[in-house]
Structures are given as C-alpha cells and as structure tokens.
Subunit: 224 residues, 2 copies
DNA sequence: GAGTTAAATGACCAGCGGTCATCCGTCAAG
DNA sequence: CTTGACGGATGACCGCTGGTCATTTAACTC
C-alpha cells in the first residue's frame, strides 16, 4: 500500500487552545464529509478520516467518541445550515404562495444538498445507534428550534395551514426526503438493475418526485 | 457463557434432497426474522442465526452468500406476502372508494407488519449493498409484478387515477413507509430523548401518520 | 533549561463477516 | 453387511474494523 520512503509526517502542531481544538474538529468533520461524498457511511474508515488530516487514528477518538458521533455532528451542521437556507427563502417571499411554489422552494433548497439528505436518510438507522443521550438531545433540541421557525413561516405562506398541520407537514416531508433519497441513491448493483428498460417504474428522480409529492400533499391540505 | 455440560448437539440430519434444503433455508429465514424482530439488523450475528437452527456458522453461508443476501431474501418473502394481502383487500372492494378509505386499507394492511416495514426501510441502505446482481434482479422483478397488480387495482378503486399517477403514488407510499418507519422505530437513546414533553413534534405514530399522509396525497390527486 | 501538562501516537484488542481444508453422515452398489 | 464416494456440515482461521490506553513528546511555564 505504501512505500518505505513515504514522506515523513511533519511535526503535528498540537491543538492546545480551545480555538485550535475547534479548528481541528472542523477539519475532521470536513474530512468525514469529503470521504462520505465519495463513498458511503460504511466505506468511510476512521483511519482514513485520520489520515486525511494527517493524524493518527486514535486522535480522532479524542474529538469524537464514536464513528456515529462524528457523522451525527456532521449532520447536525448540515441540518442547521439547510434549515437556515430554507427559512431565509421562506422569509424572503411575501403574502400567500401556491402549494406548488412552496413545493418548488423546498425541493430547490435541497438541490446540491445531496450529502445532507443522504446523511439525513441514515440518521435513525445508523447515526443515532452508537451515540450518547447528551449528543442526541442537543441535536434534537436544535432541530426543534429550526423546525419551529419553519412551521411559523409555512403558516405565513400558506394561510390554510393550521399549526398542527405545519408540524405534521414537516414530518411528512422529512419522511419523503428520507425515503426518496434512499430510493434515488442506491448501491451500484441496484443501479445496474434499474438500467433495464422495464425497471422504469422503480426509478426515482429525487427532486422531481419530491416536488410532485409535496405539491400533491399541499393541494390535499388546501382542498380539505 | 455456557457450562461444560451443555447438552451435546444431536446428529445433524443432513439436507440432501432439494426439499430438505428448501426447508433448512426456511428455517434460517425464520431464525433471522425472529432475531431481527428482537433487535436490529446490525445486532443480528450470523453466528446467532446459525446457533438458533443448531448449525455451524459456516453452514449458513452454504445457503446465503452474505448476511445481506439472507435478509434481502427475507424481505423478498415478506414483501410478496404483503402485496398479496393488500391486493386481496383491494380486489375485495367494489366500485369507487374515497381516498380515506383507501388510505386506511393501506395503513391497516401494514399493521402487524412491523418486521416487513423495518426491513423495507433498510433495503437500499443496507440489504442491497452486498448482494449479487442476480438476486437484486430477481427481487426487483417480483416487486414489479406485484406493483403492477396493485397499480391496476388502485385505478379500479380510484377512478381519478391515471396509470402514471398510480405508479408515482406507489413510489410515494414506499418513500413514506420507509421514512415514517425509520422515524417511528428508533434507537433506545433517541426514544428516551423523545420522552421529554417538548419533543412531541418529533414523535411519530407510524399508522396514524401514514394514514394521514396517504389521505392527503389522494385528496390532492383528486382535487387536481 | 528543567519541569509539567496533556495532545498525539500506534500497538493492541475484541468482535464481526466470510473462507476452506477437513470430517463424516448418507446412500447406492456389490 | 461392507465399501466407496458424494457432498453437506464443521469450526479453526483470516482480514478488517471500531475502539482503547500506556507511552511518547510537543508546547508552555517559571
């Protein structure tokens, strides 16, 4: 794998100040994201994450107690950033929107956020499996806050939406994003299978399907 | 773990006839299902599956090339059985239904099928990861067939549904089932977090939410 | 420059999915 | 009943991973 003459590792500037530790933490999150984008959660090895930041494997565990904790922290960042983006776009608009306008806004806010949605889709089944209660709580608290803002904005844009509706709508969108991302972002073998013409009914275009589903959902709420 | 006086394993009746092999295969699937029901995909060890059928670990791999293949085969069975159940109920009805009637039929057909939905929700991210193209193809072929029948029946019950609608509707329901099952069926730590009163907006009642989502979806399609 | 703190290291471990040379139950032939 | 051989069953073994911890040593203090 490596030659004996590999360039010797330069001295590692130790992170002693909290500031430096935070920077190193960020580096690790970036490395994890970059590797995850190219492969999958299972294929990202903690040793690879360490190597990418030129640290030893053991060091990574000084910053994140488990692999799942590392990726949940990454999801935490991405989720907060996405909610901020969405809420900004919702706040930009004025007056009432049609369901389709809102659906497009949501779907478009997710374009280019494949990493986020892929991680989101793995949240419950993988990321929350090997994590402390503290981290889970902090994560969910942040979600709640962003979600509350979004719910409020949704009611501004869609007058026919009750507060209860807004919460349920967000949960349903979450479910759709999770499900559709998994259906669109599949293993190579499955991708090959879906190449066959008659497999068309099983193929999923994430953005298109999500837009369609949300549009239909909102039309259904309005038609009530 | 075990005493030295454990009851010695009785002679293993070797499966020589195809019939016996099929029976053993079924035993392994049952064992996997039983263990999965009590824990999770990651927690089910191939050695445990073997032990439950009183076979050596290596023997399991004579019947299924990988752990994922074993569980995908299990999902295959459960999916076929569920489609049969749903299609039967759809065929029983006569004339046109309301969207809510259909939503309830679908949601009710999934009650008591937690094992199936839990596996379905893990299909793309775990089960199709380490499996041959052949198995994937056979699986998807069977899905296509059942799905086609369901699509036809849906159009009978819901006259406002075009053929294209029916296919998309099924994909959306699949996405919802996948997403909602993951949100409802969470890790112990996450479950504890959601116990807190203010976490209510993050709690998910699978059947209730699925019924609501499908009802809304169909109302939206009809209102078009 | 000596002493102190704690970040970084990497050899190490346990546990898993998966392999394969070997063993031996089963049955057919004589 | 004996014998031979087919192939199902076995379990020691392997590679690899996430995670640990005694030890090293960079960086700061006085």
């Amino acid at each position: 794998m490596v030659g004996p003459t590999e360039p010797r590792r330069l001295a590692s500037p130790r992170a002693r100040r909290d500031e430096d530790k935070e920077a190193r933490r960020r580096e690790l999150l970036d490395a994890a994201r970059s590797l995850f984008e190219a492969t999958s959660f299972a294929e990202v090895k903690m040793a690879d994450v360490a190597a990418r930041v030129r640290l030893a494997k053991g060091t990574v565990f000084l910053y994140f107690p488990t692999k799942e904790a590392l990726f949940l922290a990454l999801l935490d960042d991405l989720l907060t950033a996405w909610f901020a983006k969405l809420n900004q776009r919702l706040a930009q608009g004025e007056g009432a929107w049609t369901g389709e306008e809102l659906a497009r806004t949501v779907a478009q806010s997710l374009e280019g956020e494949e990493t986020f949605t892929r991680l989101l889709a793995r949240m419950q089944t993988m990321l929350e499996q090997n994590v402390t209660l503290e981290q889970t709580l902090r994560f969910k608290e942040r979600v709640l806050i962003s979600m509350g803002e979004t719910a409020g904005l949704l009611q501004q844009r869609l007058p026919f939406l009750t507060a209860e509706d807004a919460g349920q709508f967000i949960r349903h969108v979450h479910a759709l994003v999770t499900g559709l991302r998994q259906m669109a972002d599949i293993a190579p073998v499955a991708r090959e299978a879906l190449t066959l013409p008659h497999m068309a009914p099983l193929r999923v275009d994430f953005t298109a399907e999500l837009t369609a589903a949300i549009t239909t959902l909102l039309r259904g709420l309005q038609a009530r």
